[in-house]
Amino acid sequence: MGMLIQIAARNLVKARLRTLFLGSALTLVTALLILLLALSQGVTDTMIRSATTLASGHVNVAGWFKAKVGDSAPLVTQREKIRKIVEENTPGLDFVVDRGRGWGRVISDTSSLNAGLTGIDIDTEARLTETLQLAEESEYVEGGSAELHGKLEDMARPDGMLLFAAQAKRLEVRVGDVVTVTVELMSGARNTAEFTVVAIAKDLGMMSNWSVFVNSAGIRKLYALSDDVTGALEIHLEDHTKATEVMKHLTGVFEENGYEVMDHDPQAFFMKFETVQGEDWTGQKLDLTIWRDEVSYMSWLLLLIDAGAFLLMVILSLIIAVGITNSMMMSVRERTSEIGTLRAIGMSRSRVLLMFLTESLLLGLGSTLLGGLLGMGLAYGLNAAAIPVTSTAVRLILMSDTLHLVVTPGQLVLATLAFSIVASLAAFLPAFRASRLQPVKAIQHAS
């Protein structure tokens, strides 16, 4: 085998122009693929970060309460008892926060918007305060300064509200302004409350367009709820990849403890109102979800990016395959007499086949490895440059204000292996032809 590698390497060096051309092409397409995969991973990571900061834990213990069959209120009663069960039975638990949930209309003096209301107790929201950054005034006021106004700690005020920059811009409000929130109660009656904007945070991707934080006591008052009622217990795990496993485990635990648990429905809670309304039961049922369920309405985005990456990979593979096949055919033609001589002195057909395949594999491995490293370097460079995304549409798709790319070892292995295999397979036909050459005819071909 060592001999074959040696011959393959020598042949590659001998045909250095062709090797350089093909190798460069392979390197570039691998780097491109790595960048695309890094973008997809970046969006996924941002989505997890946004989801688990704004709307969800890795696992959620939420629920529905129906006083009458036609009701559907996203509430969990006995929150202390349920929290205790969660804390005692969640493997790999990092921390738990409980948050109120609602949906209402936020109205300023000049504008309004519909938003999901999340009731928080800021003292228990270490993760949120770490993640959110106050927005500069210029991000929500035309011609505003670079000053930061407000404090996240002021969310401890019962009438405290935290908006995101795009929302503040749309509502034309600043820190200290009062807005009215109108909601529909479980009974169907309308209720209102006044909230004071105590902080305006930088946007956190698409989801921050419709998420508004209010003080937990404020949301309870708005919905006329008692202290032992909440919207959801959001469970954060040390390892988020275990979310599905933990959700299944907790479902069993709650059922053993006599709670009724709804069948798993992988959708965001606000998409379930009608389904629950149409169900023929009353009382409390728990509804366990994972973070991916709560952002399921955005899964098309990941699908789109992944489909794009896959399509690009197929196209690039085809180009590489054609290039390699063509190049190897030329190589076989040029080296026909050499093949004839090798066959004449006793090299078997399979060894000839292997010799050409090894040549192609070597070229593939070397180039894709180089491409992988180049792609990784470019991704880190782009990340370090924190290139701002100015287009709103692109910002919505990327869910970030700056270009965010994440390279994982898996991506490097995938790109390197995939293109190396493609390169080897593409060389199979010319290699096979070379191995089928009759030694005498091959030698005659030279003369």
Partner: protein, 258 residues
């Protein structure tokens, strides 16, 4: 001394119109019941309606639709005819369940009874049978003037266990005609949510009822929270002839958009 106090009390009573003109509870209840009764038809009801929605920062919208009522069964159907993009959409109320149909997706969705019709400030109750006496307890506030009209100002609070969008209403009833001229809806928090004016009432003779049925020809709704938003509902071509029973079915509404 006591005669002076008595004199002052009499003078005060004479100067305070509320006390002098106060309606007793029986009369208040009778006024509210009369409001319901005069709008109720024992048979069927069909009318053409126009809903104009003005919302700040948005283009004005005008919807045209037909609504059908069968009060004895609590059935209501609203079918939208215009604009073209909304044609075929509709609402159906059956057994206290409200459904909305969208022909573009061919799907029925359950909605609450408090649904804002087509996202405007009008609600189901603006088109449906009046059930004030059934849903609210009324009390007299004062006799008042609304422009040139002498009116009774009443306050209505939702009865326990009754689902209504606004738990407190204030109404100004024309003392001369018994028609409602103005209504204010309040949220649970006490915040004024919307003010509605009924500038024109009309009546049409109902053979099934044997008397006249009243309807507001125009309803002007002002959003008191989102100032500047207003909805005008115009009701015309009221027809009290009996309707085909299959109008109040999902199939009928679906057939209208085929």
């Amino acid at each position: 001394m006591s005669s002076k106090i008595f004199g002052a009390a009499v003078a005060l009573a004479l100067l305070t119109p509320d006390a002098a003109w106060a309606l007793d509870q029986k009369k208040v209840d009778a006024i509210v019941k009369e409001l319901d009764d005069r709008q109720r038809n024992s048979g069927d009801y069909k009318a053409l309606c126009y809903i104009e929605q003005k919302e700040r920062g948005k283009n004005d919208l005008v919807y045209q639709g037909v609504f059908y009522r069968r009060d004895e069964d609590d059935k209501l159907m609203i079918l939208f005819l215009k604009p073209k993009s909304e044609a075929g959409k509709g609402y159906l109320r059956l057994d206290k369940n409200m459904f909305m149909y969208d022909p573009t997706v061919g799907k029925w969705e359950r909605r609450t009874e408090r649904e804002r019709i087509m996202g405007t400030d009008s609600r189901r109750q603006d088109f449906d049978e009046s059930r004030l006496a059934e849903e609210f307890d009324a009390k007299f506030v004062k006799d008042d003037k609304l422009g040139k009209f002498a009116v009774h100002h009443l306050e209505l609070k939702a009865k326990k266990g009754v689902d209504v969008a606004y738990p407190v209403l204030h109404m100004w009833i024309d003392a001369a005609t018994g028609n409602m001229l103005k209504r204010q809806d309040f949220a649970l928090s006490g915040r004024l949510m919307r003010t509605t004016y009924y500038p024109k009432w009309k009546k049409v003779f109902s053979e099934s009822k044997g008397s006249e049925v009243y309807y507001p020809e125009q309803i002007r709704i002002f959003d008191e929270v989102e100032k500047g938003n207003k909805t005008t509902v115009v009701i015309t071509s009221v027809d009290l002839k009996s309707l085909d029973a299959n109008i109040f079915t999902k199939a009928w509404l679906e057939s209208k958009s085929r």
